[in-house]
């Protein structure tokens, strides 16, 4: 019935296109990277331009533990991805849970850091340029961690309800892609804020 010239050679050739979920997520990541780039550029440009203290060198401590947690969560989520492919739901749930836990630890760590900066060092977003750029950049990243965690949690809830199967592997991997991105961004933020800028 299809009268658009059906081409014999075509019909036996399989017609494969990339998954729209992955393409969509990659596009989102490209867009988000542009947002982060602008904030990072602003941070770098304003390093050392504050007219008053405190300076990063005086108040920032390198969050090694935090960083280890966040980066290892990329590994645990990767392990979870492999498990769901093989339909090992229990193991998947476990690694997924660990990922969330590591993310939460990171957030708590950031919270403690900010508490110290605000109440002990008197550095707020309006104190000086350093405060403005620091809270904006780190806060932007933390917001992404929060959004990521919310989505991870949703998946965890569905897993616990027994609603997740290997059919969802593709979607879960797309979500994991976002989490990997959030981790990768931290590498940049960490380098810029705690190494270059300190």
């Amino acid at each position: 019935m299809s009268a658009i010239p059906t081409v014999p050679e075509l019909q036996d050739q399989p017609w494969h296109l990339p998954s729209r979920g992955r393409i969509g997520m990659l596009s989102l990541i490209i867009g988000e990277s542009a947002i982060f780039t602008i904030f990072v550029v602003a941070y770098v440009f304003y390093i050392g331009k504050s007219l008053s203290g405190p300076t990063p060198g005086q108040v920032l401590e390198v969050p090694i533990f935090n960083t280890i947690c966040l980066l290892s969560s990329s590994i645990t989520i990767w392990l979870a991805e492999r498990r769901i492919e093989r339909n090992e739901i229990k193991a998947f749930g476990l690694w997924w849970g660990v990922t969330i836990a590591l993310g939460v630890v990171f957030l708590v760590g950031t919270g403690l850091e900010w508490y110290k900066l605000i109440y002990h060092d008197g550095l707020t977003i309006s104190t000086n340029l350093f405060g403005t750029t620091f809270y904006s950049l780190v806060g932007l990243h933390a917001t992404h961690v929060v959004i990521g965690l919310a989505m991870l949690l949703l998946v965890l809830v569905f897993t616990l309800m027994g609603r997740v199967t290997e059919h969802h592997a593709e979607r879960i991997q797309v979500l994991a892609l976002y989490w990997h991105f959030v981790d990768a961004v931290w590498v940049v933020v960490f380098t810029v804020v705690y190494i270059v800028g300190r």
Partner: protein, 563 residues
């Protein structure tokens, strides 16, 4: 020619036009909850056309004020709000959404898909965009209310810091500006993601990337460019709001912040943005010019390469808006070169259109009239762009009416002209009826005359030293006569716009029934009934060349033999 029945998958099941059932409320509800790419496309286009009238009305107010020196039609404050709202409206509430509207409606049809990749995201994006528009216009009644025009933004569409800081812009105008654009920016981001995913992942069998209609190619390029273009603006606007609400210092020059950083960020967005606006206009020309010249597009691969090239180069030219901010001579020279380089791929496009027309049998129906004018006007606009890229000359012309003339030549002479072309061309597909050719000719010639009377004249005002953004001027500057002419032209354009609206409405009820393929065209959307059914194609189509319908109509001489 019209309505030859093509034995094509989509035509198996024909939904009769105007047969949407249900009460008015039910139908309205249907539009609000729809996730169908065609309905969303129509919503986008209607939304933009309404704002085109609103933005146009603001332009008319501007022109009344500038018609004579020392006029008192608008106060200084209102004028500043009007030119800011005019520019912001035209770029963000007309240009972007209308082009996304066309992409939404046409891309799935052209690539033989049943819908966009993410239909619900699509609906969500539209409503975000709509919310952004409402928020922006709510500013007129927010704050101290309609009297004194409320809190409408008055800082120019470029909103240079530190004028936007709390000390210099108290009140909420700037907040509305930033917030509305952040909201609609997220809508834009969503749609761009959707279009990219649709084009990459939803093409019908046989439609390799190099068999896609150029329209789809350009929409892919535009959407990819949008991903990295609109986001820097969103980021910068977040910074602005942090400054205004949380006491941040990003652009606070008193605390070591930099005004230049905003200018850079804005144009890192702003320059690619103008190509985001113009590439869809190219996309429209790429479909219309071949069909009405009755020839295949000349140099398809070169057209694709040029579009991708334009997008890439456009990311590295932003500081040509900043020749007067005091960059080093080396930076100035660098941005002169990168800017001039854009002329090369753009030239390739113009030459390929010319070569497509060359040796054809050109039928000057209204869509082709608009496209032909587009090519002429874009040529001139591009050349005035080259003039502006000559930095020393730009030291004179920057922020003068010459710049206003340059960019209206593109934004109106190229983009609005092609929007009209597109509407005349695809209206039959969308509604099942032709638009009146007689009104179309009136519409075209009046708009053409009005356009040239207005914007040709503006160039000379620039040469005579008239700056932009001024609500009044001295009578002895030698600008009086020219300003009067510019304003008269604007009103001629206004009349043309009204004819256009009338034609849209009249033809919906009285237009000639169109049939599937009134223009004897070649891309897949013309294989579906007019209007297309919800699912577009009853069975998934397969294609073998860039012009599947040409192959069908010319079985003895199909395209795939040559490609």
């Amino acid at each position: 020619m019209a309505d030859q029945t093509l034995p094509i998958s989509g035509s198996v099941d024909v939904t009769p036009p105007h047969a949407a059932a249900g009460t008015f409320l039910e139908r309205l509800h249907g539009w609000v909850v729809t996730v169908d790419h065609k309905k969303l496309g129509i919503l986008y286009v209607v939304y933009s056309l309404i704002f085109l009238l609103v933005g146009g009305a603001e332009a008319l107010a501007i022109r009344i004020q500038l018609m004579i020196p020392g006029n008192h039609f608008l106060t200084a404050a209102t004028y500043n709000q009007f030119f800011t709202m005019h520019g912001t409206t035209m770029v963000f509430l007309v240009g972007m959404p209308i082009l996304f509207g066309f992409a939404n409606y046409l891309v799935p049809l052209m690539i033989g898909a049943r819908d966009m990749a993410f239909p619900r995201l699509n609906a969500f994006s539209f409503w975000l965009t709509a919310l952004g528009g409402l928020l922006l216009y709510f500013s007129f009644i927010g704050g101290p209310g309609l009297y004194g025009m409320g809190a409408a933004p008055d800082v120019g569409w470029f909103a240079y810091a530190p004028l936007t800081a709390h000390v210099f812009s108290p009140g909420n105008g700037t907040d509305y500006w930033a917030l509305a654009l952040i909201v609609s920016g997220f809508g834009t981001l969503g749609t761009a993601i959707n279009i990219v995913a649709t084009i990459i992942s939803m093409r019908c069998k046989g439609m390799s990337l190099l068999r896609m209609p150029l329209f789809a190619w350009l929409m892919l390029v535009v959407s990819a460019l949008t991903l990295v273009t609109i986001t820097p603006l969103t980021a910068a606007q977040f910074m602005l709001l942090i400054d205004r609400y949380l006491g941040g210092h990003f652009f606070d020059t008193q605390a070591g912040g930099s005004a230049l950083v905003w200018i850079h960020f804005f144009w890192i967005f702003g320059h690619p943005e103008v190509y985001v606006l113009v590439l869809p206009a190219f996309a429209i020309a790429n479909e219309i010019i071949p069909v009405f010249s009755r020839k295949a597009i000349f140099g398809y691969p070169a057209m694709v390469a040029a579009s991708v090239g334009i997008a890439f180069v456009s990311l590295g030219v932003w500081a040509h808006h900043m020749f007067t901010v005091g960059m080093t001579s080396v930076s100035n020279a660098f941005f002169v070169l990168s800017t001039m380089l854009v002329g090369i791929p753009t030239g390739i496009k113009i030459f390929n259109w010319l070569a497509t027309m060359w040796g054809g049998k050109i039928r000057f129906a209204t869509p082709m009239l608009y496209c032909t004018a587009f090519v002429f006007q874009f040529l001139i606009a591009g050349l005035t762009g080259i003039i502006l890229s000559v930095a020393p000359w730009d030291w004179q012309l920057h922020n003068s009416y010459f710049v206003i003339a340059h960019f209206h030549y593109v934004l109106v002479g190229a983009i609005v002209f092609n929007i009209f072309a597109a509407i005349y061309y695809w209206y039959p597909k969308v509604t099942g009826r032709m638009m009146s050719e007689r009104l179309g000719k009136w519409n075209f010639w009046l708009f053409l005359i009005g356009f040239h009377v207005t914007f040709d004249t503006m160039h000379f005002l620039g040469f005579l030293g008239m700056p932009r953004s001024i609500y009044t001027y001295e009578p002895n500057r030698g600008w009086n006569g020219l300003n009067m002419v510019v304003s008269i032209g604007a009103f001629i354009q206004g009349v043309a716009a009204l004819i256009f609206v009338y034609n849209l409405v009249w033809s919906y009820f009285h237009g000639e029934v169109a049939g599937n393929d009134p223009w004897d065209a070649w891309t897949l959307e013309w294989a579906t009934p007019s209007p297309p059914p919800d699912y577009n194609f009853a069975t998934d189509p397969e294609v073998k060349s860039r012009r599947p319908l040409w192959d069908l109509k010319h079985p003895d001489d199909p395209d795939w033999k040559y490609e």
